[in-house]
């Protein structure tokens, strides 16, 4: 019986394992090999075993500054999406009473993402730009005399862009965690005289820890690796780790890009292991 159960576990995990072996492990193994290659302006890959791609990463002051900026983005976006995502998940899970309505509201939040990111990214200019809708409204209403310049092509714009893209990734796992909470627990808490805030803080939040952890993994991983948003909304002027890698790749400097990716991978895995210490998302399955 036990043997049967574990055999079925292997069978159930097999498709995923196979997909990742073919489309992730093998290709990335190639990338790891390449990260030790040499390269030149006119020769893209020179098979070799050199360490200077890694040395370049660690010895450059730019690396540390870039990581610092990216971490800062990460922290800001994480904090905002967490609070916003939790509140909205709470609303959807506890105040919306039918599954139909919940699905409808989720769909409503998803529709903007069915217009391609390429189009949405262009649309930020007429929205936040110097002569954009927001600035026109601000000037017309007399809040400011001249258009606000930092709405677009600034770190502010990048954070807005991230919050816009990633809050949904926080909402969904937290929502799913909330839906699994036994409603009688909440009634018991209310019956015992706990206020709404107390119930939220002492009952719901702890029970949502796995959902919060999963959402955080999404947000952290995506902000750390992003290069599209930061490029468009930063006007190409704001740095990020993902962008540095994208730039190296676009100039066909594969070995240093590979080395940089490996370093990024290591850093984010460390971050996530840290997160898992607060909530082991696999333990409570």
């Amino acid at each position: 019986m036990e043997w049967l159960r574990s055999r079925s576990a292997y069978l159930q995990a097999a498709p995923l394992s196979l997909i990742f072996l073919l489309f992730f492990v093998l290709p990335i193994a190639m990338v790891v090999v390449v990260s030790f290659f040499d390269y030149q302006a006119y020769q893209i890959l020179i098979p070799d075993f050199v360490l200077f791609n890694y040395q370049d990463v660690f010895s450059s002051e730019v690396t540390y500054r870039t990581y610092f900026i990216t971490f800062r983005f990460c922290l800001m976006v994480w904090a905002i999406t967490l609070v916003l995502g939790f509140a909205i998940a709470y609303f959807l899970a506890f105040h919306i009473r039918t599954i139909t309505m919940q699905i409808v509201l989720f769909l409503l939040c998803t529709i903007p993402f069915w217009t391609s990111i390429v189009i949405r990214m262009i649309a930020w200019i007429p929205l936040l730009g110097r002569n954009g809708l927001v600035n026109n409204a601000l000037v017309a209403s007399g809040f400011t005399d001249a258009p606000v310049e930092w709405l677009l092509y600034s770190e502010f714009a990048v954070v807005i862009g991230y919050v816009h893209l990633y809050t949904l990734f926080m909402i969904v796992p937290i929502f799913n965690s909330m839906m699994r909470i036994d409603r009688s627990l909440l009634e018991a808490a209310t019956d015992a005289g706990a206020s709404g805030w107390q119930t939220t803080w002492n009952v719901i939040v702890p029970l949502c820890k796995p959902g919060i952890a999963i959402g955080s993994i999404f947000v952290v991983a995506m902000v750390m690796g992003d290069f599209v948003t930061v490029n468009v909304l930063g006007g190409g002027q704001v740095a990020s780790v993902g962008k540095a890698i994208a730039a190296e790749l676009s100039y066909l400097q594969f070995p240093p890009a590979a080395a940089n990716s490996m370093v990024l991978l290591g850093v984010v895995i460390l971050l996530i292991m840290l997160l898992m210490r607060f909530a082991d998302i696999r333990k409570e399955l």
Partner: protein, 431 residues
């Protein structure tokens, strides 16, 4: 060999009739092949997959080629970054590559391209000598700073992955479009004459300037600016020393930290949006982008500058895997491309085509005068798709073909110190 007098000799008219006749025959044959008798031709209909930027991937060209030649042109449009990457890492995904000349420095050593046998190119002798000799039709030598096409036009042999210094009979690319680039400005927001590259860093335009973020091109614009403002001197702008790169990047980085730039752009369309929306009033720009901004009713000038132009050129090349019928079809397509209709189409976009004399018969006298000779337009100038882009009486910025191509100072480039330059450029973007 052609000289620029050819433009006015009646020879053009003769060849025009010949071309038209040939094309009509081709169209009939092509039509028959597609619609009428699929069984007569035992083999599959040919599809040519062309990978390149959208710069000259027009549906009209593909449709016309299908009509004339009978085979299908399937475009894969890519961003300029992806063109090089695609060429090097997955050349099997296309049958023809539409690349820029500077990209060749990176693509050719990978051995993924095949030399084109010039004896199979019908109008080879009529290609503008910029590409075959490195000189203008009147014999003056073109600037060789940067990757001038002549430096990379020929391969040592058909299967070689090395460039030949002299015409070898095997071409890397058959030129399709090229142009002389300069700064675009918003005259309505600047209100004074601009005549030097140095103006890009003028603090008057703080927060309203932009430069393009493709290192091979951006570094040349930056060098033009630095040289013009006396902040740097260069031995060869197209092949800088490390020290020269450092100086250039230092100037740019300081300007960036002072907030000189509103944004950097990478794709054609971004430059249009920046200019049209008024985010930027002076920036590196490409000619059709200026035309586009103007057609939207926003004033924009492609400003000729006293230091000269930065030029670029693109062309069609063959991947090394191409053979048999596909290879024959590729040659056939290239010959068609140079036979005039396509050239006229591209000239009307504001680009220049490689064989001018075959294109001329396909353009009206007024169109030719406006686009190529810098004459005042007698009637409204229309885009190939039928939109009005210039009113009667306007003159092309920078004037005639020879005024523009004759004043080229540098070409887009890949330097020997490319690795160093790109690192520095990256640091500049990250700064």
């Amino acid at each position: 060999m052609s000289n620029n007098k050819n433009q006015t000799t009646p020879k053009g008219a003769v060849s025009r009739r010949g071309v038209l006749k040939g094309m009509a025959a081709g169209a009939v044959a092509g039509g028959a092949m597609i619609k009428g008798a699929p069984f007569v031709h035992a083999s599959e209909p040919i599809t040519l997959r062309i990978a390149g930027t959208g710069v000259n991937q027009f549906k009209e060209l593909a449709d016309k080629a299908k009509e004339d030649l009978g085979f299908t042109i399937q475009y894969t449009s890519l961003t300029s970054d992806d063109v090089v990457k695609r060429a090097v890492t997955q050349s099997s995904s296309f049958d023809m590559l539409d690349a820029e000349y500077w990209m060749l420095k990176k693509i050719v050593p990978s051995g993924k391209m095949k030399g084109m046998d010039v004896s199979k190119i019908k109008n080879y002798d009529k290609i503008v000598p910029i590409f075959t000799k490195g000189e203008l039709p009147d014999g003056t030598k073109m600037s060789r700073q940067g990757i001038a096409p002549i430096k990379v036009s020929y391969l040592a042999g058909e299967e070689s992955s090395e460039f030949a210094t002299d015409p070898s009979g095997y071409m890397t690319l058959i030129p399709t479009v090229y142009n002389a680039d300069t700064l675009g400005i918003r005259p309505d927001l600047i209100n004074r004459p601009i005549n030097s590259w140095a103006e890009l860093l003028n603090s008057e335009f703080k927060g309203k300037a932009s430069i393009l973020n493709i290192p091979s091109i951006g570094i040349m614009d930056a060098a033009m600016v630095c040289e013009a403002s006396g902040l740097a001197t260069y031995g060869d702008k197209g092949n800088m020393t490390k020290a020269e790169i450092d100086t250039t990047m230092k100037v740019l980085t300081e300007a960036k930290k002072d907030g000189q730039f509103r944004a950097f752009w990478k794709e054609f369309n971004e430059s249009v949006n920046l200019m049209a929306s008024g985010e930027v009033v002076i920036q590196s720009m490409w000619s059709p982008a200026v035309t586009k901004v103007r057609s939207m009713g926003v004033p924009c000038v492609y400003q000729p500058l006293k230091e000269g132009y930065r030029a670029w050129a693109g062309g069609l090349g063959l991947p090394s895997h191409l053979e048999g019928r596909q290879l024959d079809a590729a040659y056939e397509f290239i010959n068609w491309y140079m036979s005039g209709w396509a050239g006229a189409f591209l000239n009307r976009q504001g680009y220049y085509t490689a064989v001018l004399e075959t294109a001329k018969p396909f353009m009206s006298e007024d169109e030719w005068g406006f686009w190529m000779e810098g004459k005042k337009a007698a009637t409204d100038i229309m885009s190939p798709t039928g939109q009005k882009i210039e009113s009667a009486g306007s003159v092309r910025d920078g004037g005639s073909f020879w005024d523009r191509m004759g004043n080229v100072t540098v070409w887009n480039t890949v330097m020997d110190e490319d690795r160093y330059m790109v690192r520095k450029w990256n640091e500049f973007i990250a700064a």
